[in-house]
Amino acid sequence: MRKIIYAQLVSLDGYIEDRDGNIDWTEPGEELHRHFNELEKNVDINFYGRRMSEVMDYWLTADQNTGLKDYELEYARLWQQTKRIIFSKTLNEVKGYARLLRKVDPDEIRELKKQSGNDMAVGEADLASTFINYGLVDEYRLYIHPVVLGSGKPMFSVGKKLDFEFVESQRFPGGVIMLKYHAESTAV
Protein backbone atom coordinates (compact mmCIF):
# COMPACT_ATOMS: atom_id res chain seq x y z
CA MET A 1 0.00 0.00 0.00
CA ARG A 2 1.20 3.48 -0.78
CA LYS A 3 2.10 5.62 2.20
CA ILE A 4 0.93 9.11 2.99
CA ILE A 5 3.71 11.16 4.50
CA TYR A 6 3.33 14.31 6.59
CA ALA A 7 6.63 16.20 6.71
CA GLN A 8 7.36 19.60 8.19
CA LEU A 9 10.24 21.89 9.01
CA VAL A 10 9.51 22.48 12.69
CA SER A 11 10.93 24.35 15.68
CA LEU A 12 12.04 22.42 18.75
CA ASP A 13 8.83 23.51 20.47
CA GLY A 14 6.65 22.16 17.68
CA TYR A 15 5.81 25.17 15.51
CA ILE A 16 5.95 25.43 11.72
CA GLU A 17 5.54 29.22 11.58
CA ASP A 18 6.26 31.88 14.16
CA ARG A 19 3.51 34.12 15.59
CA ASP A 20 3.85 36.46 12.58
CA GLY A 21 3.63 33.64 10.06
CA ASN A 22 7.35 33.77 9.29
CA ILE A 23 9.47 30.80 8.36
CA ASP A 24 12.73 32.74 8.05
CA TRP A 25 14.10 30.70 10.96
CA THR A 26 14.10 27.59 8.74
CA GLU A 27 16.65 28.50 6.01
CA PRO A 28 17.14 25.00 4.53
CA GLY A 29 20.72 24.56 3.39
CA GLU A 30 21.86 22.73 0.28
CA GLU A 31 21.94 19.28 1.88
CA LEU A 32 18.38 19.59 3.16
CA HIS A 33 17.21 20.90 -0.23
CA ARG A 34 18.77 17.92 -2.00
CA HIS A 35 17.19 15.61 0.57
CA PHE A 36 13.77 17.08 -0.25
CA ASN A 37 14.48 16.57 -3.95
CA GLU A 38 15.06 12.88 -3.28
CA LEU A 39 11.84 12.76 -1.28
CA GLU A 40 9.98 14.47 -4.12
CA LYS A 41 11.25 11.85 -6.59
CA ASN A 42 9.48 9.22 -4.51
CA VAL A 43 6.20 11.12 -4.20
CA ASP A 44 3.46 10.77 -6.84
CA ILE A 45 0.87 13.07 -5.33
CA ASN A 46 1.09 16.19 -3.18
CA PHE A 47 -2.08 17.03 -1.24
CA TYR A 48 -2.56 20.72 -0.49
CA GLY A 49 -5.20 23.02 0.91
CA ARG A 50 -5.88 26.28 -0.89
CA ARG A 51 -3.42 28.40 1.03
CA MET A 52 -0.49 26.08 0.57
CA SER A 53 -1.27 25.50 -3.10
CA GLU A 54 -1.15 29.24 -3.68
CA VAL A 55 2.25 29.43 -1.97
CA MET A 56 3.58 26.41 -3.86
CA ASP A 57 2.37 27.78 -7.25
CA TYR A 58 5.65 29.69 -7.08
CA TRP A 59 7.29 26.50 -8.36
CA LEU A 60 5.13 26.49 -11.51
CA THR A 61 7.37 29.13 -13.04
CA ALA A 62 10.35 29.26 -10.69
CA ASP A 63 12.57 27.44 -13.20
CA GLN A 64 12.28 30.43 -15.51
CA ASN A 65 14.28 32.36 -12.96
CA THR A 66 17.95 32.05 -13.88
CA GLY A 67 19.05 33.05 -10.40
CA LEU A 68 18.05 29.70 -8.91
CA LYS A 69 20.60 27.25 -7.61
CA ASP A 70 20.85 23.90 -9.38
CA TYR A 71 19.11 22.01 -6.57
CA GLU A 72 16.25 24.55 -6.58
CA LEU A 73 15.85 24.10 -10.35
CA GLU A 74 15.80 20.36 -9.86
CA TYR A 75 13.10 20.73 -7.22
CA ALA A 76 11.00 22.96 -9.50
CA ARG A 77 11.11 20.35 -12.28
CA LEU A 78 10.37 17.44 -9.94
CA TRP A 79 7.54 19.34 -8.31
CA GLN A 80 5.97 20.27 -11.63
CA GLN A 81 5.91 16.61 -12.61
CA THR A 82 4.24 15.55 -9.37
CA LYS A 83 0.46 15.50 -9.43
CA ARG A 84 -1.26 17.82 -7.00
CA ILE A 85 -4.66 17.27 -5.42
CA ILE A 86 -5.93 20.52 -4.00
CA PHE A 87 -8.81 20.67 -1.56
CA SER A 88 -10.74 23.92 -1.67
CA LYS A 89 -14.33 25.01 -1.42
CA THR A 90 -13.53 28.42 -2.91
CA LEU A 91 -11.07 27.94 -5.78
CA ASN A 92 -12.59 27.43 -9.24
CA GLU A 93 -9.53 26.26 -11.07
CA VAL A 94 -6.04 25.02 -10.40
CA LYS A 95 -2.96 25.37 -12.58
CA GLY A 96 -0.66 22.75 -13.99
CA TYR A 97 -0.73 19.05 -13.21
CA ALA A 98 -3.42 19.36 -10.57
CA ARG A 99 -6.92 18.31 -9.64
CA LEU A 100 -9.38 20.24 -7.52
CA LEU A 101 -11.57 18.53 -4.95
CA ARG A 102 -14.16 20.18 -2.73
CA LYS A 103 -13.55 18.10 0.37
CA VAL A 104 -11.59 15.20 1.79
CA ASP A 105 -13.40 11.92 1.22
CA PRO A 106 -11.43 9.35 3.26
CA ASP A 107 -12.68 6.45 1.11
CA GLU A 108 -11.43 8.19 -2.00
CA ILE A 109 -8.01 8.67 -0.39
CA ARG A 110 -7.93 5.03 0.75
CA GLU A 111 -8.65 3.96 -2.84
CA LEU A 112 -5.67 6.02 -3.99
CA LYS A 113 -3.50 4.24 -1.42
CA LYS A 114 -4.49 0.85 -2.78
CA GLN A 115 -3.44 1.78 -6.31
CA SER A 116 0.09 1.03 -7.38
CA GLY A 117 2.52 3.90 -7.35
CA ASN A 118 4.88 5.85 -5.16
CA ASP A 119 4.08 7.54 -1.89
CA MET A 120 1.95 10.63 -1.40
CA ALA A 121 2.58 13.66 0.76
CA VAL A 122 0.27 15.99 2.65
CA GLY A 123 1.92 19.38 2.96
CA GLU A 124 -0.30 21.60 5.05
CA ALA A 125 -0.98 21.48 8.79
CA ASP A 126 -4.76 21.96 8.68
CA LEU A 127 -5.21 19.46 5.87
CA ALA A 128 -2.87 17.07 7.67
CA SER A 129 -5.10 17.29 10.76
CA THR A 130 -8.05 16.18 8.66
CA PHE A 131 -6.02 13.32 7.20
CA ILE A 132 -4.72 12.30 10.63
CA ASN A 133 -8.21 12.26 12.10
CA TYR A 134 -9.30 9.91 9.31
CA GLY A 135 -6.30 7.69 10.04
CA LEU A 136 -4.81 8.40 6.63
CA VAL A 137 -1.26 9.44 7.55
CA ASP A 138 1.26 6.61 7.72
CA GLU A 139 4.57 8.40 8.17
CA TYR A 140 5.64 11.53 9.99
CA ARG A 141 8.89 13.34 9.39
CA LEU A 142 9.86 16.19 11.66
CA TYR A 143 12.82 18.29 10.54
CA ILE A 144 13.55 19.78 13.93
CA HIS A 145 15.40 23.09 13.86
CA PRO A 146 17.60 24.20 16.76
CA VAL A 147 15.33 27.09 17.72
CA VAL A 148 12.37 27.65 20.03
CA LEU A 149 9.78 30.20 18.97
CA GLY A 150 7.51 30.39 22.01
CA SER A 151 4.35 30.44 19.92
CA GLY A 152 3.14 30.15 16.37
CA LYS A 153 1.33 27.66 14.16
CA PRO A 154 1.72 24.13 15.52
CA MET A 155 2.62 21.15 13.36
CA PHE A 156 0.04 19.07 15.22
CA SER A 157 -3.40 20.41 16.05
CA VAL A 158 -5.43 17.21 16.14
CA GLY A 159 -6.10 17.59 19.86
CA LYS A 160 -5.85 13.89 20.54
CA LYS A 161 -3.22 11.35 21.43
CA LEU A 162 -1.25 9.64 18.68
CA ASP A 163 1.24 6.87 19.35
CA PHE A 164 4.11 6.46 16.97
CA GLU A 165 6.76 3.95 16.18
CA PHE A 166 10.18 5.59 15.89
CA VAL A 167 11.87 4.61 12.65
CA GLU A 168 15.09 6.56 12.27
CA SER A 169 16.77 9.92 12.59
CA GLN A 170 19.06 11.82 10.26
CA ARG A 171 21.20 14.84 11.02
CA PHE A 172 21.60 17.77 8.64
CA PRO A 173 23.98 20.72 8.66
CA GLY A 174 22.91 23.67 10.76
CA GLY A 175 21.88 21.46 13.66
CA VAL A 176 18.69 20.22 12.00
CA ILE A 177 17.63 16.73 13.03
CA MET A 178 15.01 14.71 11.20
CA LEU A 179 12.95 12.28 13.23
CA LYS A 180 10.91 9.76 11.22
CA TYR A 181 7.94 7.97 12.78
CA HIS A 182 5.34 5.54 11.54
CA ALA A 183 1.75 5.73 12.73
CA GLU A 184 1.21 2.89 15.15
CA SER A 185 -1.99 1.75 13.56
CA THR A 186 -3.74 3.22 10.61
CA ALA A 187 -7.37 3.35 11.60
CA VAL A 188 -9.84 1.88 9.14
Binding site: G150, D163, F164
Partner: protein, 190 residues
Protein backbone atom coordinates in the same frame (compact mmCIF):
# COMPACT_ATOMS: atom_id res chain seq x y z
CA UNK B 1 31.22 28.16 36.93
CA UNK B 2 29.07 25.11 37.48
CA UNK B 3 26.84 23.92 34.70
CA UNK B 4 23.05 23.79 35.01
CA UNK B 5 21.64 20.84 33.04
CA UNK B 6 18.04 20.07 32.19
CA UNK B 7 16.71 16.55 31.78
CA UNK B 8 13.13 16.51 30.65
CA UNK B 9 10.67 14.16 28.94
CA UNK B 10 8.93 15.65 25.93
CA UNK B 11 6.28 14.61 23.44
CA UNK B 12 6.73 14.95 19.68
CA UNK B 13 4.40 17.98 19.86
CA UNK B 14 6.56 19.72 22.44
CA UNK B 15 4.71 19.05 25.72
CA UNK B 16 6.45 18.02 28.95
CA UNK B 17 3.34 16.83 30.80
CA UNK B 18 -0.37 16.42 30.16
CA UNK B 19 -2.70 19.21 31.34
CA UNK B 20 -2.76 17.66 34.84
CA UNK B 21 1.00 17.40 35.03
CA UNK B 22 0.93 13.62 34.46
CA UNK B 23 3.49 11.64 32.53
CA UNK B 24 1.40 8.56 31.65
CA UNK B 25 2.24 9.05 27.99
CA UNK B 26 5.93 8.46 28.65
CA UNK B 27 7.78 5.53 27.20
CA UNK B 28 8.40 3.72 30.50
CA UNK B 29 10.16 0.64 29.18
CA UNK B 30 13.68 2.03 28.96
CA UNK B 31 16.37 -0.09 27.37
CA UNK B 32 19.74 -0.53 28.99
CA UNK B 33 21.45 2.07 26.81
CA UNK B 34 18.96 4.78 27.76
CA UNK B 35 19.44 4.01 31.46
CA UNK B 36 23.16 4.28 30.87
CA UNK B 37 22.75 7.63 29.16
CA UNK B 38 20.94 8.95 32.21
CA UNK B 39 23.59 7.51 34.51
CA UNK B 40 26.27 9.33 32.55
CA UNK B 41 24.62 12.73 32.74
CA UNK B 42 23.77 12.25 36.42
CA UNK B 43 27.19 11.07 37.53
CA UNK B 44 28.81 14.54 37.73
CA UNK B 45 25.73 16.05 39.41
CA UNK B 46 25.89 17.08 43.06
CA UNK B 47 22.87 19.34 43.27
CA UNK B 48 19.23 19.16 42.13
CA UNK B 49 17.19 22.34 41.76
CA UNK B 50 13.42 22.09 41.81
CA UNK B 51 10.32 24.21 41.85
CA UNK B 52 8.14 23.84 44.93
CA UNK B 53 5.31 21.99 43.19
CA UNK B 54 7.57 19.28 41.86
CA UNK B 55 9.48 19.11 45.16
CA UNK B 56 6.27 18.36 47.08
CA UNK B 57 5.89 15.16 45.04
CA UNK B 58 9.44 14.31 44.01
CA UNK B 59 11.17 14.43 47.40
CA UNK B 60 8.79 12.25 49.47
CA UNK B 61 8.33 9.85 46.55
CA UNK B 62 12.03 9.10 46.24
CA UNK B 63 12.48 9.07 50.03
CA UNK B 64 9.95 6.22 50.17
CA UNK B 65 11.67 4.38 47.33
CA UNK B 66 14.99 4.78 49.17
CA UNK B 67 13.45 3.06 52.20
CA UNK B 68 12.33 0.06 50.17
CA UNK B 69 15.18 -2.24 49.12
CA UNK B 70 12.74 -4.37 47.09
CA UNK B 71 11.81 -1.48 44.84
CA UNK B 72 13.30 -1.83 41.36
CA UNK B 73 14.36 1.80 41.50
CA UNK B 74 15.90 1.62 44.95
CA UNK B 75 19.29 2.77 43.68
CA UNK B 76 17.76 5.87 42.08
CA UNK B 77 15.74 6.48 45.21
CA UNK B 78 18.86 6.55 47.36
CA UNK B 79 20.66 8.79 44.91
CA UNK B 80 17.86 11.34 44.66
CA UNK B 81 17.37 11.35 48.39
CA UNK B 82 21.03 11.79 49.25
CA UNK B 83 21.82 14.44 46.62
CA UNK B 84 21.68 17.99 47.98
CA UNK B 85 18.58 19.74 46.74
CA UNK B 86 17.55 23.37 46.47
CA UNK B 87 13.84 24.09 46.28
CA UNK B 88 12.84 27.44 44.83
CA UNK B 89 9.88 28.86 46.66
CA UNK B 90 8.71 32.19 47.90
CA UNK B 91 5.93 30.70 50.00
CA UNK B 92 7.63 28.03 52.10
CA UNK B 93 9.12 29.21 55.42
CA UNK B 94 11.49 26.37 55.94
CA UNK B 95 12.58 23.17 54.30
CA UNK B 96 10.69 20.15 55.63
CA UNK B 97 13.00 17.77 53.81
CA UNK B 98 16.43 16.26 54.44
CA UNK B 99 19.38 17.40 52.35
CA UNK B 100 17.28 20.26 51.07
CA UNK B 101 17.64 24.01 51.36
CA UNK B 102 15.27 26.69 50.18
CA UNK B 103 15.96 29.54 47.81
CA UNK B 104 13.51 32.41 48.01
CA UNK B 105 15.37 35.20 46.28
CA UNK B 106 15.35 36.29 42.67
CA UNK B 107 15.76 33.29 40.38
CA UNK B 108 18.68 34.69 38.40
CA UNK B 109 20.54 35.73 41.56
CA UNK B 110 19.99 32.40 43.30
CA UNK B 111 21.01 30.27 40.32
CA UNK B 112 24.04 32.44 39.60
CA UNK B 113 25.08 32.16 43.24
CA UNK B 114 24.80 28.36 43.04
CA UNK B 115 26.79 28.23 39.82
CA UNK B 116 29.58 30.29 41.34
CA UNK B 117 30.00 27.89 44.26
CA UNK B 118 32.54 25.09 43.99
CA UNK B 119 31.00 21.81 43.02
CA UNK B 120 29.84 19.55 40.25
CA UNK B 121 26.95 19.88 37.85
CA UNK B 122 23.51 21.10 38.86
CA UNK B 123 20.45 19.43 37.35
CA UNK B 124 16.81 20.39 36.94
CA UNK B 125 14.01 17.94 36.21
CA UNK B 126 11.05 20.32 36.46
CA UNK B 127 8.36 21.33 37.11
CA UNK B 128 7.10 22.97 33.98
CA UNK B 129 6.66 26.42 35.48
CA UNK B 130 10.03 26.43 37.22
CA UNK B 131 11.81 25.25 34.05
CA UNK B 132 9.90 27.79 31.91
CA UNK B 133 11.35 30.50 34.12
CA UNK B 134 14.86 29.06 33.94
CA UNK B 135 14.61 29.03 30.14
CA UNK B 136 13.18 32.53 29.92
CA UNK B 137 16.11 33.81 32.00
CA UNK B 138 18.58 31.78 29.90
CA UNK B 139 19.95 29.98 32.94
CA UNK B 140 20.19 26.48 31.47
CA UNK B 141 23.57 25.53 29.99
CA UNK B 142 22.76 22.10 28.62
CA UNK B 143 19.42 20.58 27.55
CA UNK B 144 18.75 16.84 27.39
CA UNK B 145 15.30 16.50 25.86
CA UNK B 146 13.92 12.97 25.80
CA UNK B 147 11.58 12.94 22.82
CA UNK B 148 8.96 10.22 23.37
CA UNK B 149 7.22 8.71 20.31
CA UNK B 150 3.83 10.23 21.00
CA UNK B 151 1.68 13.31 20.33
CA UNK B 152 -0.63 14.20 23.22
CA UNK B 153 -2.49 17.16 21.74
CA UNK B 154 -2.37 19.42 24.77
CA UNK B 155 -0.43 19.82 27.97
CA UNK B 156 2.23 21.80 29.78
CA UNK B 157 5.13 23.40 27.99
CA UNK B 158 8.47 24.91 28.94
CA UNK B 159 8.97 27.23 25.99
CA UNK B 160 5.69 29.15 25.80
CA UNK B 161 6.79 31.96 28.11
CA UNK B 162 9.25 33.22 25.57
CA UNK B 163 8.38 36.46 23.81
CA UNK B 164 11.26 36.12 21.43
CA UNK B 165 12.92 33.10 19.90
CA UNK B 166 16.02 31.41 21.28
CA UNK B 167 18.60 29.64 19.16
CA UNK B 168 20.48 26.50 20.13
CA UNK B 169 23.34 24.37 18.97
CA UNK B 170 22.51 20.70 18.52
CA UNK B 171 25.36 18.92 20.26
CA UNK B 172 24.17 15.36 19.88
CA UNK B 173 21.19 13.25 18.98
CA UNK B 174 20.91 9.70 20.31
CA UNK B 175 18.21 7.19 19.35
CA UNK B 176 17.30 4.31 21.61
CA UNK B 177 15.63 0.96 20.94
CA UNK B 178 12.69 1.83 23.15
CA UNK B 179 11.76 4.63 20.69
CA UNK B 180 13.02 7.59 22.69
CA UNK B 181 15.38 10.04 20.99
CA UNK B 182 17.49 12.23 23.26
CA UNK B 183 18.36 15.62 21.80
CA UNK B 184 21.21 17.44 23.52
CA UNK B 185 21.42 21.20 22.97
CA UNK B 186 23.39 24.13 24.28
CA UNK B 187 22.08 27.67 24.00
CA UNK B 188 23.68 29.75 21.29
CA UNK B 189 25.29 32.63 23.15
CA UNK B 190 25.65 35.70 20.96
Amino acid sequence: MRKLKLQMQMTVDGYVADPNGELDWMQWDWDRELKQYVEEITEPVDCIVLGRKLAEGFIPYWADVAEDPDNAEHKSGKMFTELPKVVFSQTLDESKWDNTTLADGDLVDEITKLKKQDGGDIIAYGGATFVSNLIKEKLIDEFHLFVNPTVIGKGMTIFNDLDRKQNFNLIQSTSFDCGVVVLKYEPKRS
